[in-house]
């Protein structure tokens, strides 16, 4: 009786990684799905703010959903603490469109995966990467770099593009049949969707595009600003706050975070302790939080920003309430910001 081949797969829950896992199952491989939690996942933000189109139906974790559909056990690997200093701040292979160190990220995750493979006696690792699908990390040279620098080399199999790549050890040794792997390349998802139909995979997120905040240029700008003012001593709360609200930096270094809607206001209430808060009682208004030690001028500016985003924005003057982190509170009557140019200079 032949030995059961066991593989670790990186499973985001997107179509490609789901397909890769199903292809491995079809070839009789016993699969454990690993899902890495970096702290930069966009789904966190969706989850926090709720499903606005259907409040009773929370956003799901796609990796867990895929694991349940495929009957593949999922293990979530928490790399939040290491990820920022080890990957995001000084990526050897540089950034993509935002602060996304995609190649270094793959290398880091696959190094972790290799350690788990070695410790637990798995035979190889596979991913859902597709040659040419992503401009930074899925061209042939970076795919090779990722395999080599992760230490996996030819123990890394990409089932969707395997026939276009150098033969891997799992193929060479007959653990999987190369003829039954695929030659998919490019950005179109047409072949993957056809394959999903053939394999009975009917539930996957639309559209493609990843679930990471770091490629987003707005997010990257906020993260860079944070690092410039606060250094790299980042808490999970800091990371979550970067995903929510309009952000402004005042001249003294005080940061202003303005909720964009009711969901964000409710979320920001969780972070009031230790921060100053600003709001308008007379009109529907955002909740605004201030980080740092605001001067009287900062407080007035924050009140004017809050009034600008309240329903009193067209009033000549708006009374705005404030409460400092130490409990001191009061009210300022201010002219809402009208000059968007002036406001844009403060916006992060």
């Amino acid at each position: 009786m032949s030995e059961q081949i066991r593989a670790l797969g990186l499973l985001s829950g997107g179509l490609d990684s789901t397909l890769a896992a199903r292809i491995m199952q079809e070839q009789g491989v016993d699969v454990l799905g690993l899902h890495f939690s970096t702290g930069f996942c966009l789904a966190d933000r969706h989850r926090i703010l709720g499903n606005r189109s259907n409040p009773d139906k929370p956003y799901r974790n796609e990796a867990l959903r895929a694991g349940a559909d495929l009957q593949v056990p999922i293990e979530i690997i928490d790399i939040k603490d290491e990820y920022l200093p080890a990957v995001v701040l000084n990526p050897k292979h540089g950034y993509g469109s935002g602060m996304n160190p995609c190649i270094d990220c793959r290398i880091f995750m696959l190094q972790k995966t290799k350690s788990i493979m070695d410790e637990r006696g798995y035979d190889f690792v596979f991913t859902g990467e597709v040659l040419g699908q992503r401009p930074m990390s899925q061209r042939r040279p970076p795919l090779n770099d990722v395999a080599e620098e992760s230490g996996l080399g030819r123990l890394l199999l990409r089932p969707l593009s395997a026939q276009l790549l150098t033969e891997s050890i799992p193929e060479e040794r007959g653990w999987v049949n190369r003829e039954e792997l695929f030659d998919i390349s490019g950005r179109s998802r047409k072949r993957q969707m056809e394959l999903a139909d053939q394999l009975g995979i009917i539930d996957y997120p639309q559209p493609a595009g990843g679930c990471c905040s770091l490629p987003d240029q707005n997010y990257a700008r906020k993260l860079k600003d944070f690092l410039a003012h606060r250094g790299t001593d980042v808490t999970p709360d800091d990371m979550m706050l970067l995903k929510v609200g309009r952000h402004f930096r005042l001249s003294g270094g005080v940061k202003v975070i303005v909720g964009r809607d009711e969901g964000e206001n409710i979320y920001l209430e969780r972070f009031v302790d230790g921060r100053a808060e600003v709001w308008v009682d007379e009109f529907p208004s955002p909740l605004t939080l201030l980080e740092g030690e605001p001067t009287a001028v900062d407080l007035e500016t924050a009140c004017r920003i809050t009034a600008r985003y309240s329903d009193g924005r067209d009033e000549p003057k708006v009374p705005v309430r404030w409460r400092l982190g130490d409990g001191d509170e009061g009210q300022l009557t201010v002219v809402p910001f009208q000059d968007d140019g002036e406001l844009e200079e403060l916006r992060i």
Partner: protein, 107 residues
Amino acid sequence: MSGRLASARRRRRDAELRRHVRGALTQEELEGLGPTIEVDALGTFCPEPVIRTQDRMARMGAGEIMVLLADDVGVEIDIPAWCLSTRNEYLGLLKGETVYRVFVRRA
């Protein structure tokens, strides 16, 4: 796969998930459960409640029951999905005003 077949398959899968999401025990049975291992994930969001669940479950023996305390609404779907994928038994949840108590039995 035709659209009709895909729809039928999706309905079957959703029905299976719904059964699982309901949990194996009634509310009364959950209330009456004896000593359980408590894991606190209050104030955390996905995927932290699942991480705390998997980490604690890894140190439990077969048949032991864990109760997860959480206020992330996502545990209603994430914990059943995690149980379905890992073959642990989802027993159900008790929903308070803001706190969920989610019960899982180690396979």
